[in-house]
Structures are given as structure tokens and as C-alpha cells.
Subunit: 346 residues, 2 copies
């Protein structure tokens, strides 16, 4: 039997074929499980030696690879993240790496647990999507395992970053609404109070982009930001606050499409029509935004490209840990749909 | 320094504290990385011995645990699956197990790769959500690692199953629509042609439940099933076919909420009003269905309970691999919303 080609990792399937036993038997031998005869064990061990197979666990001790890449996602309900994951797997599916995902739960403690778990399992690299951990923690992780941080700004000497230009993205929304004739344009942001990370978080940068663009359009007196979270519930509660204003906004810029879903909910419950009574715009251009009955104006930050870029950077860093870090920033575009229109007559 | 409590697993954080070094140093020693002094290595190794810490990799060789549970999800875009994942993590977050998820991509080859990767990494247990693999493959996996299969019917002697009663769920929809006065009720199913698994797949059982309920209501001549996929695109294409019928249905029962999103899209593009011209019902009762502007009638199969049940069964199986397998079936309920109403006058 031919040995497998050198560029491909030897798997237990190869070992089973070579030893002429089932993969179940190989697994049992590897796990020292019950139910294998001494003869079987000898056959499997010979095949392992012949092919140079390194079981996952053994590989680690010899500074080898585990062929595993960990992806931490803040929230698996946000329909934007599958775009990033698709971009990652487009690239990694063709390699020997297995992607394993874990929820970061938008919390520093949960993120610490997840990153520790990934390090502890000897993963070869990690992609951290929109982490909220301190930069110190991110650099700690990156000091141990090749790391790409997605959706967070700021340059690091130890990890690569991929994000979109959130400042420009927010300005695209404000300009679109102002061009339609809106002045009372409000924004719902994901609350960010930690001064150590505020300059790096996409949510904070979108809010800042909103402020800058409002000022640039001479609308500084109309700046109105509600702080909740980037969730459906956050959008719902934020919109309820805005709709209760004596002089309610004629347009709401939700910081993410998932936020816009909650805004639509609150607006609908208030008996208002979109876009006749109020315009709504989101951010992320998810498949939800494109859906006919929703047809949400949104900012396309090309999540799939973000994911693909992150995968490529990570593979390069795994191959050479000493290369200088890269900071990739992609340009967003506006997709105007039916939720935005001129404001109602005053 | 006190040793950690016996019930909790010793982590590298404990080792670092005990050795009075950073966790980075512990990780470096464990990985045999550069940049640690012989003195540091000695300190860390002493702490490892004192605390009885078993690094992940070492644990496996001694038939130990890796404290990892793998969850295979068919499609991370389907908003139903986060419900199951939430139910799983509700239970597992309180334990020392880390949940790692991988996409099964609705394909036998991809599922084989993912399950092999989970076995190869020594995971302690796996949860396979709506797998399409042959029963032979599922039993192969379960023969190696404790396994719970979610959303697929059929009893196995080697793995536990948790599903909802899809036959009843489909009947709830047909009865609701028939009670409103509909006769031309069509169904969009996820195409299932493999005779080896057809009796076990939730999609096939929903289609069968639809057929049985139609017959029970005397509507056997109106049975009309379009086979696509449980995706937004599948719903869109399925609805386009149904709307092109000379005598188009007055109600569409989509096999999943994600399918209903595509149906809404096609209906909206055809210039039809919901529910005035056509009623639409889904299955899964996702947060999307509850959304105000959508307000989709749907079947609640209690995904969170399904996930929690799966986690509990898996923990029990990890603790005792010889216990008899369980088959848990949960009862669905109908949540009627604004997308269903009496049919338009003939």
C-alpha cells in the first residue's frame, strides 16, 4: 500500500486501511479502550509506526500541530457572524485544519474561559471575533498562540487585526439620511464604558462616526444617542426610549442589523409605519436585511471578506510567528432599501 | 496555598498561582516553547506535580477526560440552532466542560470529517444535531465516544436521542389552517431521498405528519408537497413553484421558520399580501417568528429544552457508558400569529 502523500496529514482512516482493521478498532487502541485483542493492538501500532501517524494528543507534547483553529464568537444569534464564519471556512476547509467555535458571551470572564480552553487544548491558532477583553488579555493570548482579532481596531505588535472602517460606515448612514432631508437622526449604540478599550471597539467607533458625520452636516444639536446592547432586545428598548421623546426622531440608525430587528418591533408596536413615519437603518447587511418584507437599509461590511482575510493572516502567522503584524481595514458600502425615505412633512 | 477543591478540575491558572509565575510561563513550559529558563521549568513542573494537574494532551493517553464536548450543527444560519445551543450551555456552563461547535454543512462527507475530528481530538462526548449521516456512521461514532443525537428519531442501542414529536407538530399546523377554512394547504419539505434514513429524519416526519393530517381532515386530494431544502433559498424557490400553480394554494406550511423567510420573500415579490391573499406557517418558533413585522405562526418545539435534555443525557452517558439508551420526545405547541387567517373568498 502506498504511503499517503507527504503534504497531507496522516489520519486514523489511513492507519485503519494500512492495518486492515476498522477505524473503530484504531480509535479503541488509541484510547486504550476495552475490547481490543493484543494482536489487534500490535497490528495498529505497527501501522502507526509505518505511516508516522501522530495522534492528536501526542502531537502536542512534541511542539507539533493539533490542526485545530478556535473561533470565539460573541453571540451566535447575531446573523452577521455566520458571514465571517463562512469566509473563514471558505479558506480553511481546503486545509487540514478543523474549525471549532465557542461562544464568548460578550463577557470578559467568559472570554477568559474560552481562550484558556483553546490554549489548553493546544489549538494552533485562534480567531477572536469582536472580543471585549482587555488588550492585556488579548496580548497574553497572542503571546501563547497565533491570534487574529476581528472587528476590533487598534494596532498590536503581537496579533493581526481585520475590521471594517466603522467611522466611514457610520458616516455613510448619516449622509444617506441627511440627503433624504432628515435632521433628527438618532443612534442606538452598544454601551461601552471601559476607557481601556473604547478607542478600539467597533461599536464605539460607529457611535463616534455618527457624531462626526452629524457635526459635518451641521446637525450637532440633533445628536441623540441611546446606549443599550447590540441585541434584538437592545434595539427594542432603545427604540422605546427614542419614541417616547417629546420631539421624536424621524430616523433611527441602529448600530447593527440585529439591533434594527428590535427597533422594527418597537416601531410596529407603537403603530408607526416604516418609512412613512420613521426611517430605520442598520449595519452589517445580513441576509435578514435583504429579506423582502424587511428590506432594511444597511451598511455592508463584507463579513465574508473579513473572515477570509482573517483565515489567510492566521495561516501566515502559524507558518511564521515572527512576521510583522498586519492591520487590515476593509471599506464598507451602503445598501439603500425600503426602510429609509424622506421624513414626514413637519 | 490551599489546594483547589477536589470537585473542580485543576487549571493552568491554579498551576501559575501555585508556582508564582504567569500563566504565559506555564503555557510555554507545557508547550516546550522557547523562552523559559531551566529554573522556571522546574518551578512549573513542581507545581504540576503538587496539584496533580493533567494537561489536556497528557490526559488522553491515560484514558482520561479532555473536558471537551463537541456539538455538530448542520447550519449556523438557521436561527433555531442557537436555541439548542443555549439549552446545552445552560447545563454545561456550570460544569468543567467546554463546548466546541463545528458546522456539519448538511453533507455526509462534511459530517464524517467533523465527527472524525472530534474523535481524533479526544472529546469526551458529542452532540450531533439533525445529522444526515447513515445510522451505521452514527453508531460507529457512538461506539467510540458517548453520543447524543438531537432532532432525529429512531431508537438506537448505542446513542441517546432527543427530538420533538414532529408528527404531532405538523398536524397542529394543518388543523389550525383547516379550522380557519383552508383546503389548498401546501407544504415545503427538505428533500429526503435516502431510504436508509427517511424514517428517522425530522423533515421527513413533518412531511408525513402533514400527509396524515390532511387525510384525517378529508383533504387527501389537496396534498401538495414541494421538495427543496430547509434554507431561506429553499423556501424562496419552493414558494415560487407553488405560486405558479394554476390553482395556487391559499396556505403554505413551511417545514422550518428559515424556510418561511424565503416564502415571505417570494410572496412579497409576487405582490401578494399576507395573510389576506395567502397564509404562511413555519416550524421552530424562532425569535424571528416572534418579531413584530413578521409575526409568523409557528410550531414551538422548545429548542432550549431539547438542548438541556441532550446535555443531561450526555453527562449521564459520560459517567456511565453502559446505561441503557434513552429516547426523549418532547411535545410541540402551536403559536398562532398574524401570518395565518381565513382564506380569501373563492
Amino acid at each position: 500500500m502506498e504511503p499517503p502523500a507527504q503534504h497531507r496529514r496522516v489520519t486514523i482512516v489511513d492507519v485503519a486501511r494500512h492495518a486492515q482493521v476498522s477505524t473503530t478498532t484504531v480509535s479503541k487502541v488509541l484510547r486504550n479502550a476495552y475490547g481490543t485483542s493484543p494482536q489487534m493492538r500490535a497490528k495498529v501500532r505497527q501501522a502507526i509506526a509505518d505511516l508516522g501517524y501522530r495522534p492528536y494528543a501526542a502531537a502536542r507534547g512534541m511542539r507539533g500541530q493539533t490542526y485545530t483553529i478556535g473561533v470565539m464568537l460573541p453571540d451566535i444569534r447575531n446573523p452577521f457572524f455566520p458571514e465571517i464564519v463562512d469566509g473563514l471556512t471558505d479558506i480553511l476547509w481546503e486545509t487540514d485544519y478543523q474549525v471549532l467555535m465557542a461562544p464568548g458571551r460578550n463577557g470578559e470572564k467568559a472570554e477568559a474561559r474560552v481562550t484558556e480552553a483553546m490554549i489548553d487544548r493546544g489549538m494552533d491558532g485562534v480567531v477572536l471575533v469582536a472580543p471585549i477583553s482587555s488588550r492585556t488579555h488579548l496580548e497574553h493570548v497572542a503571546g501563547i498562540v497565533p491570534t487574529v482579532v476581528v472587528g476590533r481596531h487598534g494596532h498590536s505588535a503581537v496579533y493581526d487585526t481585520v475590521s471594517d472602517d466603522d467611522l466611514t460606515g457610520a458616516a455613510l448612514v448619516v449622509d444617506h439620511l441627511a440627503d433624504l432631508g432628515h435632521r433628527r437622526i438618532a443612534h442606538i449604540e452598544h454601551s461601552e464604558t471601559d476607557p481601556r478599550r473604547i478607542a478600539e471597539m467597533p461599536n464605539a467607533i460607529r457611535a463616534e462616526g455618527y457624531r462626526q458625520a452629524m457635526r459635518a452636516r451641521g446637525l450637532e444639536d440633533e445628536i441623540d444617542i441611546v446606549s443599550t446592547t447590540y441585541t434584538q432586545q437592545g434595539g427594542y428598548l432603545g427604540a422605546q426610549q427614542l419614541l417616547a421623546r417629546p420631539d421624536r426622531p424621524t430616523a433611527i440608525f441602529a448600530g447593527a442589523d440585529i439591533v434594527a430587528t428590535g427597533v422594527l418591533q418597537a416601531v410596529s408596536e407603537a403603530g408607526l409605519a416604516v418609512p412613512d413615519d420613521i426611517s430605520i437603518a442598520g449595519y452589517d447587511n445580513t441576509s435578514f436585511a435583504a429579506l423582502g418584507p424587511i428590506s432594511l437599509t444597511s451598511v455592508d461590511q463584507a463579513g465574508r471578506h473579513i473572515g477570509a482575510n482573517a483565515a489567510k493572516l492566521l495561516l501566515e502567522r502559524i507558518a511564521d510567528r515572527t512576521r510583522p503584524t498586519a492591520q487590515v481595514k476593509l471599506s464598507p458600502t451602503l445598501v439603500a432599501r425600503r426602510t429609509t425615505a424622506p421624513p414626514p412633512p413637519a
